[in-house]
């Protein structure tokens, strides 16, 4: 009786510790980690063919029944659900095997959007991270991801988000200073960096001056800045308009070295104005000098 209890307990312990599923001719572990070594123990005698079929991978071994078959590290590396088939001359036995991703992150796929946005925009920058192991399997075990947005001036925004089903998402504000920000996602000792360009917004105002230039008027703006104090980039169009009598003259001038300037015909009593996009500047009434 005692020996019978011992045998039963031993059997249960073996089943629990090895997580083996008894299945006729072959014992298969319920799950293994991708890339790890493992053995399959078969029962009986004679020759058989062992197939392991899974995502993007098929293994075949000719085995001697009753012996253990060893699979070296890296034999199965794609995470997923596998089918184990043991085929003898007169039967085919089927088992199942799960291969899970390793827990150590090896690669981070980091999607940061957009690559360019105006300064001072709430939740304007988004980042999504997918964490993979060394075999490019998505790691679904929760892991903390650190997102960092570093401005050229040195200011840093940091958020820590735990992955859910292998991914993590965050949204951050663009800062008030233009420049190329470094947006980094870090998981363990693996990181990935993207560059997010923060560009000036609309000009906060346009101040224009006019002075005579021979028979014409030289119109010139002061350096244009947005409402955060950033210089509006060269190439931005400023539209100058001159209205006189029943006629008008207009010209679209790109900023050069921060200012826009143009010569326009001098008409006594002309009304001069400047605009850029939806921003209007000051008006000047031109009187004969």
């Amino acid at each position: 009786m005692r020996s019978a209890f011992s045998a039963l307990a031993g059997s249960l312990l073996l089943a629990a510790s090895c997580l083996f599923a008894q299945n006729g001719g072959v014992q298969v572990p319920q799950s293994i980690e991708a890339g790890s070594s493992f053995s399959l123990q078969s029962a009986g005698s004679g020759k058989a063919a062992l197939y392991i079929v899974g995502p993007n991978q098929v293994l075949k071994r000719e085995i001697e029944l009753g012996q253990s078959t060893f699979f070296a590290p890296g034999s199965l590396y794609n995470a997923g659900h596998y089918l184990v088939l043991l085929k003898t001359d007169n039967s085919t036995e089927k088992s199942e095997l799960n291969v899970t991703a390793t827990s150590k992150p090896s690669e981070v796929s980091f999607l940061a959007r957009p690559s360019r946005l105006p300064v001072d925009l709430h939740d304007g920058i988004t980042g999504a991270v997918y964490v993979f192991d060394v075999y490019n399997n998505l790691i679904t075990v929760p892991a903390p991801v650190t997102f960092e947005l570093l401005n050229p001036s040195g200011t840093k925004q940091t958020q820590v988000v735990t992955t859910h089903n292998g991914s993590a998402f965050t949204a951050m504000d663009s800062t008030r200073q233009q420049g190329a920000d470094k947006f980094t996602a870090r998981v363990g000792d693996v990181d990935s960096t993207r560059i997010v360009g923060q560009v000036p917004g609309d000009p906060c105002g346009i101040k224009m001056s006019a002075k005579p230039a021979g028979r014409q008027i030289l119109l010139e703006t002061e350096p244009l800045r947005d409402c955060s104090g950033n210089t509006v980039p060269d190439g931005t169009i400023v539209t100058f308009t001159e209205s006189y009598a029943d006629a008008q003259a207009t010209v679209d001038v790109p900023l050069k070295r921060g200012v826009a300037q143009v010569d326009m015909p001098a008409h006594n009593g002309a009304l001069l104005s400047a605009a850029s996009g939806v921003v209007l500047g000051n008006q000047i009434r031109w009187e004969k000098q």
């Binding site: 690559s115 980039p233 006629a247 010209v251």
Partner: protein, 375 residues
């Protein structure tokens, strides 16, 4: 002879007879298409003289047209051809004369004034050019004096140009799939107004490039019925300035011929933008803009190329507003001659007569195209 043989002989004889008749007495249009003699061979009236000249221009018989002129000693044949087709590459350079009209202005026994309207077929449609000709009688023939336009001369010089230029590098095939591509320019429709015209539904509006990079833009509109079904979809085609520099605004017009606004429940607007390599040059001033009232309502003015680059094709787009600032019409016009630096070139945009009295202000922009350059 069998019946078949007789029929064959009859047909052959008839064919030979028709060929002989067609060769000896050809119809005028056949002569013209064959590049042969004029439709009107004599110039016994001022009108005939001008028509003959028009036919020669139509047939691009430059030598013949030039030799028929009364004042050919004042210029060369090359000058004459350039006067018609442009001294620099332009819309007229690759155009052919579609048709022409002759209108008498004044006539006496020894001289006459005639107006020759030349309708050139260009890649953007018909371009009408008017020339007032003086015709004089010499013997029993009339000869046209061609009013040669003075060739614009730009003195040899070096014009330094240092405007900004943008180039675009997109992500490569070998980049990490998560690496972001360069962001498309952000554009916004700042005004949109549908109107019902006799020709159909017109969608008028303005589009702003609110980004800091140049954008290639277009706008598509979809008319939707009350049940949500699509009535029609169309784009702005060339009724827009496709290149928008940062903070630049373009008008657009989308036409839906034979549609009625009453059947439209809503309109879906889809602006499109993509990055484009571009230059901030050339800068073109629009000077002396006048709103001319009906009849013959138009927006006229002059274009002045403020840069050093020759502009081969200039496209002027006008946005017209009522006294409340509401957009009421968008119209455009191509300039068929090249713009030379600091050389004014006139333009004229037609405005529908019924809208002219509603218009109280306007805004014009120029889209330019230079040979060998970007948009």
């Amino acid at each position: 002879m069998s019946k078949g043989g007789l029929l064959a002989a009859t047909l052959m004889a008839a064919t030979v007879a028709l060929v002989v008749v067609g060769t000896v007495w050809p119809i005028p249009s056949a002569v013209a298409y064959a590049g042969g003699r004029h439709l009107l061979q004599s110039s016994s009236t001022p009108e005939e003289a001008v028509k003959n000249l028009g036919e020669d221009i139509h047939a691009q018989s430059w030598e013949k047209a030039y030799s028929s002129l009364a004042n050919k000693a004042q210029f060369t044949e090359t000058d004459f051809v350039h006067d018609l087709t442009g001294y620099y590459p332009s819309l007229l350079t690759y155009a052919t004369l579609d048709h022409f009209d002759v209108q008498p202005l004044h006539s006496s026994s020894s001289d006459a004034d005639m107006r020759l309207m030349l309708y050139w077929s260009t890649v953007v449609g018909i371009s009408a050019v008017s020339r007032d000709l003086h015709v004089t009688k010499s013997g029993d023939q009339w000869h046209v004096a061609w009013p040669i336009s003075k060739r614009p001369i730009v003195p040899p010089q070096v014009i330094p140009v240092n405007y900004l230029r943008w180039d675009v590098i997109y992500r490569g095939a070998g980049d990490d799939w998560g690496a972001q591509d360069v962001e498309a320019p952000h554009v916004r429709i700042v005004d949109m107004h549908p109107v019902q015209r006799a020709a159909g539904v017109m969608i008028l509006g303005e589009l702003l490039n609110e980004d800091v990079v140049p954008a290639y833009v277009s706008v598509t509109a979809t008319l939707l019925a009350k049940d949500g079904s699509t009535i029609a979809t169309d784009g702005s085609f060339d009724k827009i300035s496709h290149l928008l520099l940062p903070k630049q605004v373009t008008p657009f017009l989308i036409e839906f011929p034979d549609r009625t606004l009453s059947s439209v429940a809503s309109i879906r607007m889809t602006p499109f933008s993509t990055l484009i390599s571009a230059s901030a040059d050339p800068v073109i001033e629009i000077d002396n803009e006048h709103l001319n009232p009906a009849p013959g309502a138009s927006l006229s003015g002059q274009l002045i190329d403020e840069s050093g680059q020759i502009v081969n094709v200039a496209h002027v787009l006008g946005t017209f507003y009522d006294k409340n600032g509401q957009i009421v019409w968008v119209a455009d016009s191509y300039v068929d001659t090249a713009l030379l630096p600091q050389t004014p070139v006139p333009f004229d945009i037609h405005i529908p007569e019924d809208l002219a009295r509603k218009i109280s202000s306007e805004r014009a922009i120029v889209a330019s195209y230079s040979a060998g350059g970007t948009l």
